[in-house]
Amino acid sequence: MTQTRREFLWAAGAAAAGLAWYQAQEITWTAEQVAEAGWEPGIESRLASACLLCPARCGIRGRIVDGRLVGIFGNPLHPMNRGGVCPRGIAGVQALYHPERIRAPRLRTGARGAGGWQALSTEGAVALVAERLRGLRAGGRPDGVAVLAGYCDGTMHELWRQFLRAFGSPNYVADDYRDGIDAVMSLTHGISRRPAYDLERSGLVLSFGAPLFEAWWSPLQAYVAFGGSGGDRRDGSRPRFVQVDTRFSRTAARAQEWLGIRPGTYATLALGIAYVLIKEELFDADFVARHVTGYEDRLDAAGRPQEGYRSRVLRQYRTEEVSAVTGVPVERIVALAKAFAERRPAVAVIGAEVMQAPDGLLGGLAVHSLNVLMGSVNRPGGVLFPDDPPLEPLAAPVLDASARAGVARPPISGAAMPFGDGDPARRFAQAVAGAATPPEVLFIYYANPLASSADSGLWTRALSRIPFIVSCSPFLDETARYADLILPDALPYERWQDAPAPASYPYPTWGLTRPLVTPPPGAVHTGDALLALAQQLGGSVARSLPYASVEELLKARARGPFAARRGMTLGDEFERTHYRQMEERGWWLAEHTEFEAFWDDLVARGGWTDLFYDDTDPARLARTPDGRIDLMPPQLQGALDAAGSGPALYAYSAQPAGAPTPEFPLRLMPYRVSTLASGTLALEPWLAEQPTLFPDRHWVPWVEVHPATAERLGLEDGTMLWVRSSRGRYRARLKVFPGTAPEHVGAPYGLRHPDGELANPLQLLDGSADPLTGVPCWFTTFVRLEQA
């Protein structure tokens, strides 16, 4: 008895000691961690750069301590974002130090996609590519090299094109998911350019589905306008934001007004507003008379009478009918039209989703016609067509005979659509997967079609026909996994690049990134790798790219703004106002007489901008033959007439495609979450933890469904579901949300499950496209939900 008691006491004592040791261990561990984190104050600096995580290209300042990037803040000198940044930009540090980064070049060893890799040096990798390319040229097939580039702008875009041209290939394939809005501008204004919207100085911003506060071309531009901290509004007033949207998005939630409408009825609502503007004579009759054709009925070239915009609208868009089609009450349509006329300057913004429809081009024209009616073009607060930054062009390409022959051959992706080039990447994949001779070498830059395209099967087939695939991705994304060679790019915080403000921003602005921290030894800036490759190839290719590095190339291009006698290196509010006022009076004062000083300042401040827009220049209004905006573009009329019974311009047509079936009763509404950094990477933890709008949702991809719909389906909030269309299925968790329209499924894309499984609603899409622009339709697919 005593024996056992003693033993027990001993055992208890030992257990207690063990516990104490355990506990102590944890505490020392934490202390070590603090020490390792660099507790002592280090050498610290804040350097200007630009964020390359989305097309907005905000100016940022990186906080660097002891060679580590520990924080990203906005650059207050950048006129577009003025010191603000979005969550995604801040989370860039987590991308930089992402555990899954590829830190050195890799060569495939086993079968494709099997995951066998062998490390090699950067020089070795470049030499390997050079050898392949030399082989192509020797075999008289320089066009056997192709480049698939995702969102790629500025100098990198030009560098790739120059390289291909000098080498002799026409196969530059943009995988950048265009929305076709440039076609709208080209048809009406004769200016083939995405329009800029002067939100800051606008009185009323009427957005047709553009996710201005989420994933727009520049959410920061919209934020600054909404906050009223930008522009030269001395009265402290702010623009009023009205959001027309099928979905209750964050933009809809924060706009002063939201009109929830039925899918596919944006054009109808726009023309319903036009009806009120015309009927009540609220539009800018003087502007229309002076600058617009196609408003009134006229005779066409053959002398046949042709109905004008006015007659069509008055004939077909009576407010009651528009109300019945769109689901927006009559009073609200009338009130909105009146507000649009009263709160001038007002601007109507075309959202990509207007364009991503079977009649998208016509929808875009209808929305933009509101700007034309109100004269909100080439006026402060309206639609503007600014210049590009006046950069020094690249050295003239030198083409030898072989290159000239290659470039002359037809590109693999074939010809564009009649009014735009909606989806060249898809056409490329179709051609390669089909009969066309596949390229011998494919470079993949900033694109991940195996995960992000609507048809990964097609892309797998296409890629399997290409003998040598080089991925430049710094992450092992799906497509990189399928590559033969990975030459990992340095991340934006480690490299020189330019960051022109997106087309939506009305002032030519040229941001710069420069290395804030040193890249891992095996990562190489794709631009530098390309220049090195050109040198190795020698001859005319080397002569076309006579730059030692991208830094040198950028410096050469900066001679443009230096010599332009306009604009300024980024400056604070005072400097901005000062320069704008001077330029308005036709003056300009050089900040720098020496180019080197100019360049140093450019780098230190983060870029160059010219905040003056000359709205008296008629070439910024229309570059059509008669110099007038055409609401009834004859080319389009002709194309529609040729097609016969299809939709006509400004003609009401019932929803052209997509209807629920008993099997697939719910409409799928893919949308881009604002925190999305790169559709095909797992989200950075900070972003995965806080999907905005639903603070209670973390990490796991979700779909939104109206409470009544969920109840009808017998599904509870939080259930794991399969979202299934006739094309496939993916897994997501149900979020019951009263802001979603009944019988719709709001489906954020770009999300992944914590285990990496992709949840991509785009791969469920029915594959239809606008026949005029080729832009894929994203809102015509129907699905059902099944418990997973």
Partner: protein
């Protein structure tokens, strides 16, 4: 039992024989039960070691559901602890003679359960290794510190209050020489039961009994205040102090009843725990069930009447929401069952009081649950999302181990100390019968003759 011990026991008077037998005679059933309880305790220690190593994340707690099982147990056990000291002190002070056989078992409950209650907040700490900070950096404006002080005082006072009245019995064991002679010589601190010693003992007991009452009342008042001093809905209430004290006594009475029934069966103490004891304790239970109802009604009615939105969210969560089951189970256990049973004399038997007592013990645990959890998961700010709480296996294991540990220690205590006070029984027989007769006589008007004689 060893032969020589049996011989020695046989020489003792009958009371002592009966009451000291458990100290030297242990059945295999006892070992079996103790072993089983020991295993549960060990299991709980494993669970706690995991919690210690990995953090409170091993519990089901979250934000804003910051407090759960451990705090429920804390309030519950400290409540039970009011069994002994408070009840025995009140009965002593009020000279209720029927108390003599039950005070010791009640006081043991107090001391043991108080220990188990007091460690709960330590188990609940994120940094138990820093518990000394409470002393090193104590901030007196925190109700938690008041609590540390009052529980410390209470534990000390009730340990003394258990020990002092036990000294004569310890001396009896020492003198009987039946067990661990050195231990009992030490514990009995030279008590020889001289009349001077006895008088001093009685005086000390008298003073202690009076002192311990306010301390006990303060303890549970302060525990109530821990909740009431926050701004959380349905915690921030002035009734909490008295409500907690009343509930504590209530659960204490119930716990004594359960202990009495078990001891009576286990050690054959039918002679000591008589029907009259169960009848009287049953009446007390009845009184407290009514009091409980009164306090609960007052608490909920005022909350309901005020209709403050934040309060009402918690209110409805309890009355007709996700916590309706524990809430109404509490009402049944704390009010309906004891009321129905205890208002009839024929249920104020060992069996009837056992059922009522168990029901109240369970009900009072549920009451602690209904105080802690529904408020925790219903934050005051309506924009904050509601929390959920599902205790993890770690918490449930520690819960089980706490109960098992308490029962185990109580069992072991009955092996070392007589669970009914021997000397007080003796005193009762020798002296109180006379005293009470005199006292009762003194309440009455004097007979006419002697009154005249006194004039």
């Amino acid at each position: 039992m060893r032969g020589d011990v049996a011989d020695k026991l046989a020489t003792l008077p009958p009371d002592e024989q009966r009451l000291l037998r458990p100290l030297v005679d242990t059945s295999p059933r006892f070992y079996l039960l103790a072993g089983a309880l020991g295993l549960v305790v060990l299991w709980g220690m494993v669970a706690y070691s995991l919690q210690l190593r990995f953090g409170l994340g091993r519990t089901g707690l979250n934000r804003p559901e910051y407090w759960g099982i451990y705090i429920i147990d804390f309030v519950f056990f400290i409540g039970i602890s009011h069994a002994g000291t408070l009840i025995s002190a009140i009965l002593r002070v009020s000279k209720a003679e029927w108390r003599r056989s039950i005070t010791r078992s009640a006081e043991f409950i107090t001391v043991l359960v108080l220990g188990f209650g007091a460690i709960q907040p330590v188990i609940d700490l994120g940094r138990p290794d820093r518990v000394l900070n409470v002393v090193l950096h104590g901030h007196l404006r925190s109700p938690l510190l008041w609590d540390v002080v009052s529980i410390g005082l209470y534990l000390t006072a009730s340990t003394i209050y258990l020990y002092i009245p036990m000294i004569p019995d310890l001396a009896i064991i020492r003198d009987a020489g039946i067990k661990a002679p050195r231990l009992y010589r030490l514990l009995a601190i030279g008590y020889r039961d001289t009349s001077a010693q006895r008088a001093r003992l009685e005086r000390v007991i008298g003073v202690l009994a009076i002192m311990v009452i306010p301390i006990a009342v303060s303890v549970h008042t302060i525990i109530g205040w821990i909740f009431a001093m926050t701004l959380r809905p349905m915690w921030h209430s002035t009734i909490f102090g008295p409500y907690f004290v009343m509930g504590a006594i209530y659960s204490g009475i119930a716990a004594i009843l359960v202990a009495m029934v078990v001891l009576r069966r286990a050690y054959g103490l039918e002679q000591y725990f008589k029907p009259i004891h169960f009848d009287y304790m049953g009446r007390l239970l009845l009184l407290f069930s009514l009091l409980w109802f009164y306090f609960t009604l007052a608490e909920y009615l005022t909350a309901f009447y005020g209709g403050e939105p934040a309060e009402m969210r918690t209110f409805w969560a309890k009355v007709a929401g996700p916590f309706a089951v524990p809430f109404w189970a509490m009402v049944v256990c704390c009010f309906v069952i004891p009321l129905v049973l205890m208002c009839r004399r024929r249920f104020r038997t060992p069996r009837g009081t056992l059922i009522a007592g168990l029901s109240v013990v369970v009900g009072m645990w549920l009451e602690r649950f209904n105080i802690v959890v529904p408020t925790s998961v219903n934050p005051r700010w309506e924009m904050e999302s509601l929390a959920r709480y599902l205790p993890s296996w770690v918490e449930l294991s520690i819960l089980a181990a706490t109960f098992a540990g308490f029962i185990l220690l109580y069992m072991v205590a009955t092996k070392f100390f007589p669970i009914v006070s021997i000397w007080e029984m003796k005193e009762g027989r020798e002296q109180s019968v006379r005293d009470v007769a005199e006292r009762v006589a003194s309440y009455l008007p004097q007979p006419a003759a002697s009154a005249a004689a006194a004039d």
